[in-house]
Subunit: 350 residues, 2 copies
Amino acid sequence: MSDTLTISIDAMGGDNAPEAIVDGVSRAALRNPDVFFLLFGDEKQLEALTAKYQLAADRFKIHPTTQVVKGDDKPSVAVRSGRESSMWKAIMSVRSGYAHAVVSAGNTGALMAMSKICLGTLSGIDRPAIAAVLPSLQGPVVALDLGANAECNSQNLVEFAIMGHVLYRVLFQVEKPSIGLLNIGSEETKGRDEIREASTVLKGFGDKINFKGFVEGNDIGHGAVHVFVTDGFSGNVALKTIEGTAKFITSSLKEAVRSSIVSKIGFLLATPALRQLKKKMDPRIYNGAMFLGLNGISVKSHGGADAFSFSYAVESAIHMTRNHLCDKIKEELRTVMDVTDILSEELHKQ
Amino acid sequence: MSDTLTISIDAMGGDNAPEAIVDGVSRAALRNPDVFFLLFGDEKQLEALTAKYQLAADRFKIHPTTQVVKGDDKPSVAVRSGRESSMWKAIMSVRSGYAHAVVSAGNTGALMAMSKICLGTLSGIDRPAIAAVLPSLQGPVVALDLGANAECNSQNLVEFAIMGHVLYRVLFQVEKPSIGLLNIGSEETKGRDEIREASTVLKGFGDKINFKGFVEGNDIGHGAVHVFVTDGFSGNVALKTIEGTAKFITSSLKEAVRSSIVSKIGFLLATPALRQLKKKMDPRIYNGAMFLGLNGISVKSHGGADAFSFSYAVESAIHMTRNHLCDKIKEELRTVMDVTDILSEELHKQ
């Protein structure tokens, strides 16, 4: 692998592929002149689109593929019969050492299943998780798992907490990010068994991590902790509920403004301030969910991402690569895993 | 029981009890001249507060109690040793026929446990659920369970769907409200076993109900269906995430406005429109979670409710009583339960 950073792109995945994907890559390429792209997908379409979006010839290489993983394909089916797909080939290029990371806006389940098979999971990790950065009143927070594991045991939750801890450190240079376990009440007696068990284990880490105990759904917007840990079902519900609520409020706001001429003028005056706010809260700049716990970097863009949004998923992969996220998770896992093993044994003795 | 509607109030439950409770009752009393209130709690405090908030002497009766269920009491402990509490006594007054409904801002778990014991569950219902009305782009929606049952099987989810269907009909006069099962993807293969099983059963009802299949977190804000059905863990996470996101956005908006004089003037002009919007979306008017599946009406106010907000939880109890919600759920259950039984048997044969 050369010194240049190389990112593989599944150019056929997502609602707006391949056009928004190539357009997005082209935008990310302008912002990151030292990155080279491998584009996997339909050769003819990609040739036309790279020309249309003026992606310089020395910045990319097209790898023609003939198959596309569909949005409603079962992950197991995709894995078995999708070996010629743009998604599989893009991930394999990371495994083979041709690229540092892969980005896809395609089927989440298939991407996770293929990434697990191709890249393998880190030693000490039972199940990889999907993490994302979200805005909050206190600045960015990290949440995981957001949908990879609909059901989790306490050990999975503990592993998510450690991976979230490392991710936050790498992304935001905070020495000991605070960690909370999502529950339906902050009292010790609330919630499910696996959450209470995970809490006991995490407390046992002492000052190796900054575990704050249980948090609730409203704490995400408040930014009560840096890292929110939960199972993939609740995490996915929370993530999508944030999306729906934000849309509901902004749509209602727009409607309210249109209700009178005076309020329209008022909003016109406030436009610069609102534009700033919109920019800060634009969900598109938070695009790029990270698969943690793999032996390689695999980033999932929102399926409905436009070019602007997809370019941020690419940025996310670049940032993770530049900061050696996988190596850092491996390191941290080594130092804390001894503690986990001891604690798990203790817990199972009880 | 006289013809007047009588509502029992646990005046000692909640962060701002008893003052906000009595103030709230007084506000609800003004809006509902035909309702009589039984106030359970510390006699001296309630005498002083009813005087302070000018609750007319012929509109209430104080029932002195000596014990208070605390916010962090375990429900099992509260049930065993809280028989002299304002909460228990208030619920018992409904069971004894002295009141039509009870409202409390106290410990949710204790209120549910005590309500179950005192009022009993409806025949055919395995587990009562907590339901609430939420605003959406398409108007009000109902969501349940919001925290009574951290874990649910498919049968519980089916019962929640039926109760939600009846609640929506009663509250909003829609003949066949649309029902969705909260999941982490709309495809058939997604999510947990119990959710897929519940979906099969609900489809078996045919046109008796208007079941739309799986929905996701973002569909709540969109108002994609009238009734959102989920387990108490995810429901609670979703509810609190909505709360946190709304606070995050409105706080960020306020901050943005303060950033310049021009934008301040702009917002001043838009104030009437914004005030309208604020009124429409004020979470306080949606206060009052309903315990469904009980042989009686028990309403849970937000623990942190102020007087204005608590008065809406009282309204909610009044509305449910006036519309004979319990009887209507019983009726509907009778007509659909036969179908459920048949379907469950079918499902278990498979």
